[in-house]
Amino acid sequence: MNYSSLAIPRLSDFLFGVCPRPLTLKNGLVIGGGQVYPEINFTLDSMIITAESMPQVYEQYTQMITGVCDRAVELHAPGLVVEFELLPDLTLVPEWGAEVTKILRSTLDETEAKHGLKTGLRVTPNDIREFARPPLMRQGRYVEDMFRSFELCAEAGADMLAIESTGGKEIHDEAILNGDLPMSVFALGVLGSRDMAYLWERITEISRRCGVVPSGDSACGFANTAMVLAEQHFIPRVWAAVIRVLTVARSLVAFEHGAVGPNKDCAYEGPYIKAITGYPIALEGAEASVAHLSPIGNIAKAVPDLWSNESVQNVKLLGAMAPTVSVEQLIYATRLMNVASARGAKEAGMLRDWWVESDSHLDPQAYVLRPDVVLKISEEIIAEPTPYKRTRRSAFAALEVLRQANAAGELNLSKMENRWLERLSRAAEGLPEDEDEFIAGILPQVNRKKIALSEYGL
């Protein structure tokens, strides 16, 4: 499958809660079929995970899921999705992750049977290939354990499988900190995209075999790393905004190799994926400040089908345990969206536009998530045939949009940010159209100690 036209070409159809290719889970819960559901993710408070501490780990997950389900029932949530994002130790020992999956599944089933609340369980094993240095992407113990984790979690009751894969990240962190656009394009448009094709063929195959949904990936390790660094004033915001758009072609590869959504919550490139593929997406924003700060808390609410909190630690707050508090926040946020949708597309569009307007002029990272900008850039991206060419085009398109917005006063960039906008534009001009020429030019600059190029077929 190679996308060459937009699944959602019109702004008026680009809304939260609806998409051209909704997903129906086994129990009938439809994602992207009219309603936005909360997707809650929670994690352990400070503790070491070992064989000895596993009983406490299971106890904490039981406590978290019970609190969350009870609150969802009390607040009349129309549906609930839970994401279990494994911690590295729970993927390194796949049986442990599967056991937690079972615990979550059984409480969700009980809640559904007792209260009629339709639920879905997304399970996200970790990309533990990074534990080998340089990472071994296609061989070795970590690869085997990672795929076994997918399989065991699917058998243990996951409805959907996902991952935050990290192919190419071993050189991307430095590219972010160096403000190195060509290296970022190499990591995403060449390395990451190749790895995604490899990975998603396998995840799709496991999902089909186990009867679960291959949902989606996230460029979190790339663009959210940049966003967090920009938030700490370590890198320019325009750079983080450009990286966000550079990730689109890479994340699209999952859908070209079998993913069907919902795309992962922390993938803020999701609106682009939805516009291009028509599959549903999860997204996170204001309520994800429990996990990390961001300048895109409201605009992220423009077009999601699931609304998430990224992840919250199981600590005690005055209201209740944090996961319970967090699900309450998500339920209220989605209630408002669903009331707007019930009124009609015009009203939903109005709510969407208010959220967009409240963020978009304050930060370039928000600006590139404006639904109209997403449609415009997406169209340019899919006009190209390959991940490299698409990533290169993303750079041109994102920079052009930002330059125009700045010139028109829709963005108010500082002197420093302006300097970087110019610098990045100059770097983009140097990207050759031919992929082989690009690779030949960049390879001498790649730190070979950090990466095994053969793992990417290079």
């Binding site: 400070s46 534990f131 700490q232 890198i235």
Partner: protein, 210 residues
């Protein structure tokens, strides 16, 4: 003055110029310590100030740091010859099970800019590896970073392992990372804590005085 020119070249991140000027200064018999402290470290100090004030981002700081590294390459043999001590030696690493390293790398960069010598052990560093590094490099400070709530307790484990191996008294221990707090640092018996890279430098200096 050539020292001011070195400082300015570091601020501007001009590695070629820094190398040229350091070589020239040595030829002119300027003491190596003066080149280091009043030229390069002072230049990096100014870079830190520009960063604090929002005039520089990390990419500009890295360019300056690389320029300083270039100069140090020429200066180091002379510093050794003239027995000039660094501000201190720091062994740095992200604890076992944890692969987050951006914060740790920034801490390392800032410490280096302030004249510390850094031995970076990378990520997923076991207590045994830290202990080996203490024995091999005899640092003044061991710096540990952790980003996951499930790996933060490995700081405690590592300090306990230092005690058992009998190396705890020979080093100061500094910890940091998003989930780590001053209170936690105190509870596990670390000597220092810093919430960010800039304060890590100040904390390291304080640890070596106190």
């Amino acid at each position: 003055m050539i020292i001011d020119d070195i400082k300015q070249a570091v601020i501007e991140g001009d590695a070629t110029e820094v190398k040229k000027l350091v070589a020239l200064a040595l030829e002119q018999q300027v003491p190596a310590e003066e080149i280091l402290k009043n030229g390069m470290i002072s230049g990096m100090g100014e870079v830190g100030r520009l960063f604090e004030e929002g005039e520089y981002f990390v990419p500009e700081m890295l360019i300056a740091a690389r320029a300083m590294q270039g100069g140090l390459g020429i200066l180091r043999p002379v510093l050794v010859e003239q027995d000039v001590k660094s501000a201190g030696k720091v062994v740095l690493g992200t604890v076992k099970g944890d692969l987050h390293d951006i914060g740790k790398n920034l801490v390392g960069m800032m410490l280096e800019g302030a004249g510390f010598q850094i031995v970076d052990l990378g990520t997923d560093v076991s207590p045994e590896k830290f202990i080996e590094a203490i024995r091999e490099h005899q640092p003044d400070i061991v710096g540990m970073s952790a980003l996951l709530t499930t790996t933060m307790p490995n700081m405690d484990k590592t300090i306990k392992a230092f005690n058992e191996a009998g190396v705890r008294q020979s080093v100061k221990v500094m910890v940091g990372g998003a989930p780590v707090t001053k209170k936690y640092a105190g509870e596990i018996g670390a000597d220092g804590f810093a919430p960010d890279a800039n304060q890590a430098t100040a904390e390291a200096k304080k640890l070596l005085v106190g």
